[in-house]
């Protein structure tokens, strides 16, 4: 059983604190994705787990064993780097077998393990080539092969797909997921791409500025973001956020960010989930996803709280099954979705319905979500 546990892990680079006391419990066999904007400390955290970076405080344990001061080779982990870090002077076969050769395993054993990994990743044809003679996708595969050859307790991935083109990236994403289902090891995967995080993760760890902001399944983060950062980071297009002020106990007045609520904005009902949790005059951010604002007359599920708005469409983005509509609510640009496409002229005003029960209310001062 190889759980990975971080408790109060800190990393300082001189006076700069890159990771601020992280706590994280990763179960055996779990696929955990660390995601967040560039520079938020994901790689640093991963490298501390790998032992490539000394930890400045706290404890890292792998399989119940505290590994704070163990060198990487004694942690029984393997890692795939963003630039693959294949050994350029070795053939693919030698690259794959390197870790076993270092451990002085018997040649037959090495050959068997290398062949097994090669078969899993479809590398058989490439075994005698040097890394320079491989395409980006093939290098990526070799890097993964090198990681699985020695059956580590934990796989670490640091943005393994970001050097690939979009198509290959999607393809490799599927392969990584299949690989996880096949070998079943614990995987800790770092990416800045929320799509990768959503599609791969059993559990997402969303980081910002060296802190963990939210941990949960992809759907938890999507449906119940704890603050506006999570709300706008997860999901594409990002959640629409509009400044608002609570009026009375069951209305919200939406207004443009610059107006400060002085001029009368657009008043809509306060979603019932938020009633009693906000007070009259409280400044909030009102959030909803594009899917929850759609033109009337679409066959959508009945019931639920909704409100109707007349909004001008400024731009359309047809995406095939759906069309993104850019429009404006109380002076803030928002995106809406339309599922049965019909031509919409820019400038045309449509009647939209907003699903109030799917909306999110955030406190404007703290950015934290207000929900039951």
């Amino acid at each position: 059983m190889t759980e990975v546990t971080l408790s109060n892990v800190v990393k300082n680079y001189g006076a700069h604190r890159a990771v601020h006391g992280i706590d994280l419990d990763i179960q055996h066999g779990e696929f955990v994705v660390l995601v967040g904007p560039s520079g938020c400390g994901k790689s640093t955290t991963l490298r501390m787990i790998a032992g490539l970076e000394a930890i400045s405080g706290g404890d890292v344990s792998i399989g119940g064993r505290i590994v704070n001061d163990l060198p990487p080779r004694e942690r029984n982990i393997s890692m795939v780097f963003q630039n693959y870090a294949l050994y350029p002077h070795m053939t693919v076969r030698e690259n794959l077998g390197f870790s076993l050769a270092i451990k002085k395993k018997a040649p037959e054993e090495i050959i068997a393990a290398v062949d097994e990994a090669a078969a899993i990743l479809g590398l058989d044809e490439l075994m005698d080539r040097k890394p320079a003679e491989l395409s980006g996708g093939q290098r990526q595969r070799v890097a993964m092969g090198r990681a699985i050859v020695r059956h580590p307790d934990v796989f670490l991935f640091d943005e393994p797909l970001s050097n690939l083109d979009a198509k290959l990236r999607t393809q490799m994403r599927v392969e990584i997921k299949k690989l996880h289902q096949k070998v079943g090891n614990t995987i800790i995967y770092v990416t800045h791409d929320q799509v990768e995080a959503m599609t791969l993760a059993d559990r997402i760890v969303l980081m910002q500025d060296g802190h963990i902001v939210q941990v949960g399944t992809p759907l938890e983060l999507f449906d119940k973001p704890v603050n506006t950062f999570v709300a706008t980071f997860i999901g594409s297009p990002p959640m629409n956020l509009i400044d608002g002020i609570v009026r009375g106990d069951n209305a919200v007045e939406l207004h443009a960010p610059s107006s400060g609520g002085l001029h009368g904005g657009l008043t809509i009902p306060l979603p019932s989930t938020a009633r009693g949790r906000v007070s009259d005059g409280q400044a909030i951010k009102f959030g909803f996803r594009a899917d929850n604002l759609m033109p009337m007359g679409h066959a959508v599920e009945e019931g639920g709280e909704r409100t109707e708005l007349d909004l001008p469409v400024t731009l359309t983005e047809p995406l095939g099954t759906e069309t993104l509509l850019f429009t404006e609510v109380a002076g803030t640009e928002v995106q809406a979705k339309m599922y049965n496409p019909r031509p919409v002229r820019p400038g045309e005003t449509l009647k939209f319905q907003l699903m109030l029960d799917k909306c999110h209310i955030f406190d404007a001062a703290t950015s934290n979500a207000i929900r039951g």
Partner: protein, 287 residues
């Protein structure tokens, strides 16, 4: 149409200019060497003839004399060659070991005063060897290592280390640190990661540093002429002086010895050339 033509003509002219410039440069580099080789095979009269003799005749006299007895213009070629070899090879090996460690440290580690230290090393390299010859002579004489292989090796190591540090630092810097990290995760110690991964990848860089160090020692004259006295320690460049007498210079003999000096350097360069040109293959990283 017209414009096409002018552009094509211009390209032709540029090509011609390029070729001529290249030819002149190569001529300037190669003619002195060629001259030495030619002269080593010509009778002394012909070398000194004024006006010059354009159709050279061929003789092995200078070589015969050089390997001959001490009385007939012979010099202890084999001793000089052996001294040169011992001094150059040993000092190169030592300088590479030290310089490579230094270069690696500069490329991989952060430490206090790194920049200043590096500049200091380079400045040290900028001091001309001749300027050091007198102080070195005095110090070596006091310590008692004048006229020994050891003394010369010491001087050459000091001369070559800064350059080797500088060169290998550049090569190691180009190797992504992920390579040794991957090796360490694969089970290597830091030491193994260096020898099994980083060193082989930087091999061409180390080879070029080695050839530079070797040639510097092999050709060095100013220091060697001061620090060596006897047949037991004189190197080939110093040996060339044996052909100068009080009033005459035996140009033919000197050229013959110079040819013998050039040959090993040439062979070495050809052997290592593959590494020099191959450059670093960074196929292992990125796409």
């Amino acid at each position: 149409m017209d414009r096409n033509l002018t552009h094509r003509n211009r390209r032709r002219v540029l090509k011609a200019v390029h070729f001529v410039a290249l030819f002149l440069t190569m001529a300037i580099i190669c003619i002195p060497g060629l001259w030495i080789v030619l002269n080593s095979f010509r009778p002394t009269v012909e070398i000194m003839a004024k006006p010059p003799v354009w159709t050279p005749s061929f003789t092995l006299d200078h070589y015969r004399a050089m390997f001959g007895g001490a009385g007939e213009g012979g010099v202890p070629v084999f001793s000089y060659f052996r001294n040169s070899m011992i001094v150059s090879v040993t000092s190169t090996v030592i300088a590479i070991l030290i310089g490579m460690s230094g270069g690696y440290a500069f490329a991989r580690y952060r430490f206090k005063g790194k920049g200043a230290y590096f500049v200091g090393l380079m400045l040290f390299r900028a001091v001309p060897g001749v300027a050091l010859s007198l102080p070195l002579f005095i110090v070596f004489a006091r310590v008692g290592i004048i006229d020994t292989h050891f003394g010369l090796i010491l001087a050459y190591v000091a001369m070559n280390v800064p350059f080797t540090v500088w060169l290998t630092d550049g090569f190691f810097r180009q190797i992504p640190k992920e390579l040794h990290e991957a090796a360490e995760i694969d089970g290597c110690t830091r030491w193994q990661a260096f020898w099994k991964v980083e060193f082989p990848v930087a091999r061409s860089g180390v080879a070029s540093a080695a050839i530079f160090a070797f040639l510097t020692s092999w050709n060095e004259f100013a220091l060697a002429s001061q620090l060596t006295r006897s047949v037991g320690s004189k190197t080939m460049p110093v040996g060339l002086l044996d052909f100068t007498a009080e009033f005459t210079i035996n140009w033919g003999g000197m050229c013959a010895l110079a040819v013998l000096m050039i040959i090993p350097a040439l062979i070495l360069t050809f052997l290592v050339q593959k590494h020099l040109i191959a450059g670093l293959t960074f196929g292992g990283v990125k796409g």
